[in-house]
């Protein structure tokens, strides 16, 4: 319908293919209105399989007891808490992209913020699962909340970092969900106005009667900026609080003030790697090459190399501090990390987190999608190992040599690890099927490199009354 617009000249843009607003609507809504592709079904079947492995493992663990895990008297936290910290970290990039980049007016975020926010929500759901199953009796999980009870009432211990976690993760999940939903409303209205039947009913209900009024837009933009301003310190607080689970204890290797910033930057690093990995897949599978362009990939690569370098600095700082502290326990903790029984895990961590991303300095590497994809996978593996090294590696060898122990994860723990990925990918694939993966209305504001689409093209247009 707008063919004459497509021939018009526009400056190089964030979005390729000379798109008009209608094209954007059609391109993003199109895949949702067609039947799922074979690719999608294959991926969904794979994700469900992983999820099923997780469900069986966790069900067996809950039915039998926490003894099905390889944890012991000395190593009380293993795969479970590693997964928890890993998934919370993955979520951080979503908030960073949607909130921090919104405040910094980085327009390239518009192509990826929707799926990055969705990823945040799903990652936090995965994260929340692990402490609950770690409780052993998950049906008593509500004990973590301060609710009036008949035991006094006996309140929770507000001085415990584990309780801060409950509030930090709870708030993070709630605010991320609200932010994501508020961002979805205009696009749900677009879907509503394009569809019929059940889909129209559901999107009509969820879009709250959105009509695109200027007065509403004005308030809406204010609300988004406010939510972004709240989410920015929130994202910093969440992983800082998670790090206090460790930093407020006396275990050598945990008891250090560098841990909060170290955790936060590691979270951003791993999260960006995950977003980039998913985007590389999504642009291929969903044909979004015009929306997620090399501009976006390069920008994300730069964030990864930047945060990866800070992570490397944090590792160096840890080692320096251990040496400079003069504390033999601290020094032993780090020499054990490097040369002890889990030295191989430390090597994997350094290789994946410090060495691998450095290749992204090269423009050639950044423009090779295969290389970028490999590096993002390495970063994800490396960041999982970082948490594993910190958690199990530090617990294994603490003050008393007589209490030293080794930790060998069981198949049930591997099952839960796999299940976490299964849950994440299952939710993400459902999201790709049912909701617009790209923020339609925001893309319309950045057509033609940040200028409004209609500004340049329309001069060429002479159109009769429709």
């Amino acid at each position: 319908m707008h063919t004459e617009l497509q021939t018009a000249h526009r400056p190089p843009a964030l979005i390729g293919g000379n798109k008009t607003p209608t094209d954007v609507t059609r391109d993003v809504c199109g895949p949702l209105e067609r039947r799922p592709t074979r690719m999608w079904w294959l991926a969904f079947a794979g994700a469900l399989t992983l999820l099923a492995i997780g469900v069986v493992s966790v069900w067996y663990q809950i039915a039998t007891g926490i003894g099905t895990w390889g944890l012991n008297r000395t190593v009380g936290w293993g795969f479970d808490i590693t997964n928890f910290v890993f998934w919370v970290g993955i979520g951080h990039a979503g908030t960073l992209i949607s909130a921090v980049l919104l405040l910094f007016r980085q327009k390239w975020r518009t192509s990826i913020n929707r799926s990055a926010e969705a990823m945040t929500i799903f990652a936090v759901m995965c994260a929340g699962l692990f402490p609950v199953i770690h409780m052993g009796r998950p049906w008593l999980a509500f004990w973590v909340f301060p609710y009036p009870n008949f035991r006094g009432p006996l309140w929770v211990n507000w001085r415990s970092a584990l309780l801060w976690d409950v509030f930090a993760i709870g708030t993070y999940f709630t605010i991320s969900l609200v932010f994501w939903y508020v961002g979805l409303i205009p696009d749900l209205a677009t879907l509503r106005d394009r569809s019929r039947g059940l889909r129209k009913k559901i999107t009509g209900l969820l879009s709250l009667g959105w009509d695109g009024s200027a007065r509403t837009w004005s308030r809406y933009e204010m609300a988004c900026v406010l939510l972004a301003s709240l989410a920015t310190p929130l994202v910093v607080s969440v992983h800082s609080v998670v790090s206090t689970d460790f930093a407020t204890s006396v275990v050598p290797g945990w008891h250090t003030t560098v841990l909060p910033p170290y955790f936060v930057i590691g979270a951003v690093f791993s999260g960006f790697a995950m977003v980039l990995m998913l985007m590389l897949i999504a642009r291929k599978v969903m044909n979004f090459e015009d929306y997620i362009t090399t501009v976006h990939i390069t920008a994300m690569c730069k964030v990864i190399v930047f945060t990866g370098s800070i992570v490397g600095l944090a590792y160096a700082t840890e080692l320096f501090t251990a040496w400079y502290s003069g504390s033999e326990y601290e020094q032993f903790a780090f020499s054990n990390r490097i040369r002890g029984p889990m030295g191989w895990a430390y090597a994997v961590m350094v290789l994946c987190n410090v060495v691998a991303p450095q290749f992204l300095w090269s423009r050639r590497v950044r423009s090779s999608l295969g290389m970028v994809f490999t590096i993002t996978i390495m970063v994800n593996i490396g960041m999982w190992f970082e948490r594993f090294v910190i958690i199990a590696g530090s617990l294994q060898r603490d003050y008393l040599p007589s209490a030293w122990s080794d930790y060998v994860p069981t198949s049930i723990e591997f099952g839960a690890l796999i299940g976490g990925f299964g849950l994440f990918f299952t939710l993400f694939l459902l999201f790709c099927r049912f909701l617009p993966m790209i923020s339609i209305f925001e893309i319309k504001t950045v057509l033609s490199g940040g200028h409004h689409a209609t500004e340049e093209v329309e001069e060429t247009k002479e159109r009769g009354v429709a």
């Binding site: 008009t20 607003p21 209608t22 609507t25 301060p146 009432p153 006996l154 309140w155 929770v156 211990n157 507000w158 001085r159 801060w164 509030f167 930090a168 709870g170 708030t171 709630t174 605010i175 609200v178 932010f179 508020v182 409303i185 205009p186 209205a189 677009t190 509503r192 106005d193 394009r194 709250l208 009667g209 959105w210 009509d211 695109g212 009024s213 200027a214 007065r215 509403t216 837009w217 004005s218 308030r219 809406y220 204010m222 609300a223 406010l226 939510l227 709240l230 989410a231 929130l234 607080s237 609080v241 206090t244 209305f441 319309k444 504001t445 409004h452 209609t454 500004e455 329309e458 159109r463």
Partner: protein, 172 residues
């Protein structure tokens, strides 16, 4: 208030902005404008006041902080003081993380809730978006303030700025 409103449908954001500008100069009432995306500068043009959601957010956050700190203090120092590792019952520094999280939680939820209330958005709301304004059309709804303008002038004004469709609606 009962009045007739004139609706014009545009294809370009500039046409909409120009039509709003002229309507304001000519003393017409700009009832509302509809667009598929937020338009930069439309607020000033339409005379929309800066949203006061910031106040809602600030006071919501403040309420969250106050409630969080008070409840932690009350439950650990007043209702059932429990000695945990010899730490003071009123451990204000240790109460800050939860206090902060509740600040953000209350601030965010009150902002979102007030956005829905003020913009009259709720699930199951009956109403419709004008044809195409969630896709690529822009709509302007104007009305006469008094009768010294002939009723033919409104559609004429809209058409002059490039409206592709113009119709009248009997407003309430």
């Amino acid at each position: 208030m009962k009045r007739f409103t004139q609706v014009g449908l545009f294809e370009r954001e500039e046409q909409l902005l120009a039509a709003i500008g002229e309507s304001r100069i000519r003393g017409l009432v700009v009832v509302d404008a509809y667009s598929p995306y937020p338009i930069h500068g439309i607020d000033e043009l339409m005379g929309i006041r800066r949203s006061r959601l910031t106040m809602v957010c600030f006071f919501g956050g403040l309420a969250g902080l106050a409630l969080g700190l008070w409840f932690q203090y009350w439950s650990s120092a007043t209702d059932w003081p429990l000695n945990v590792g010899g730490k003071p019952f009123d451990s204000l520094p240790a109460f800050m993380p939860v206090g902060f999280e509740l600040t953000v939680l209350f601030g965010g939820l009150s902002t979102a809730l007030m956005l829905f209330v003020r913009s009259r958005l709720w699930p199951g709301k009956r109403g419709r978006a004008l044809e195409g304004v969630t896709d690529d059309r822009f709509a302007l709804v104007i009305a006469r303030r008094n009768t010294d303008m002939s009723s033919a002038e409104l559609p004429e004004l809209l058409r002059r700025h490039g409206a592709i469709d113009v119709w009248q609606e009997g407003g309430e």
